[in-house]
């Protein structure tokens, strides 16, 4: 109809996600966003309505990319369940090194900052958490079914423990804790899944 955009909306959301992820919602001003996305206030507001809506867009984008990639890495594809879990968790606490470090998980950060007050945010964070829990559950069930995990494994307990551990790991990664200690944590929680002495054929 009229004059086309000079910027890529999706690219702007990506950069907004990065900024919100690092600094959080309250510590990120609209002018910070404008500088990072190279958008004037008018363009930003015409495109994304307001700061809060843009934040929700960023949260949705994160879930559709980073979170989705995480769940994808939980697919076994025939590999041993324990190894899948271990690689997945190691990746979770080191993947930010593809950029800078110490960002933690955008969903976890957001849940602690806004989850108690903002219903829209809360619905999204809880949904993201639930996806992870279900992915863990089906992975463990598969492992128990094919003999890689003990038959008497307490599924509920194992899911809760793994999920809670992951949240803790994400917090510790943002806090800049020693990666070696995080790796120790990961090995410990996997060992806690129970000792099937030998791998089945």
């Amino acid at each position: 109809m009229a004059r086309p955009r000079q910027f890529d909306e999706q690219d702007a959301v990506i950069k907004a996600t990065d900024l919100f992820w690092r600094r959080g919602y309250n510590a990120t001003s609209v002018r910070d966003l404008g500088a990072e996305l190279k958008l004037t206030p008018s363009s930003l507001y015409r495109t994304f309505t307001d700061k809060h809506t843009l934040f929700l867009r960023a949260l949705d984008h994160y879930r559709a990319t980073d979170s989705a990639q995480a769940e994808q890495r939980l697919d076994t594809a025939g590999r041993p369940v324990r190894q899948v879990l271990r690689d997945w968790m190691l990746w979770l606490v080191s993947c930010p090194s593809d950029g800078e470090s110490g960002r933690g998980c955008f969903v976890v950060n957001t849940a602690t900052e806004l989850g108690t007050t903002d219903a829209h945010v809360r619905r999204r964070t809880e949904a993201a958490f639930e996806v992870t829990r279900q992915a863990l559950r089906s992975l463990l069930r598969e492992g128990r079914h094919n003999g890689e995990l003990p038959l008497d494994l307490d599924l509920d307990g194992a899911v809760e423990l793994l999920f809670t551990t992951v949240l803790g790991l994400r917090v510790r990664e943002r806090a800049g804790h020693d990666p070696a200690r995080l790796a120790t944590t990961i090995d410990a929680v996997i060992q806690a899944l129970g000792s099937t002495s030998a791998q089945p054929s």
Copy 2:
């Protein structure tokens, strides 16, 4: 020398701690604090220098009271180690119910919000974390020594796992997760410490 205070400084710190704990640093304005502590800006600044200094006071107060109480509950006093751990963790995720709920841990919240940018805050949160880790370590060592825990228990791994789980539990408590699931998590991590089939004499 002159006119005495009409307010109790310690009481003001307590109320400030409560407010910062619930809302976080950035979402709490000086005027919010003034209303809660019943202090005018002039009194607040004369007494506490500025917002950031008051926040550090609040963080120190939290460590000296709530955190200290938590470490205290890790003292065995002759009770079984597993039970001490279980009661301690259950208390951690339910103690906010002495007021309202869903506040999580002030140190954890602060570490995720400001730990990456504020050095003064970071030093305090890391110190608090280290105290907890050491308390867990000595408790586990005691349990291993007196036969309540397996002799071949991996101390480093168990400490990291317990500590990380606690961080995750605190996040989940703030996120308002079902207490029953948190209890399931706690039972799972304690069972993971290893099975000494019977209690020694």
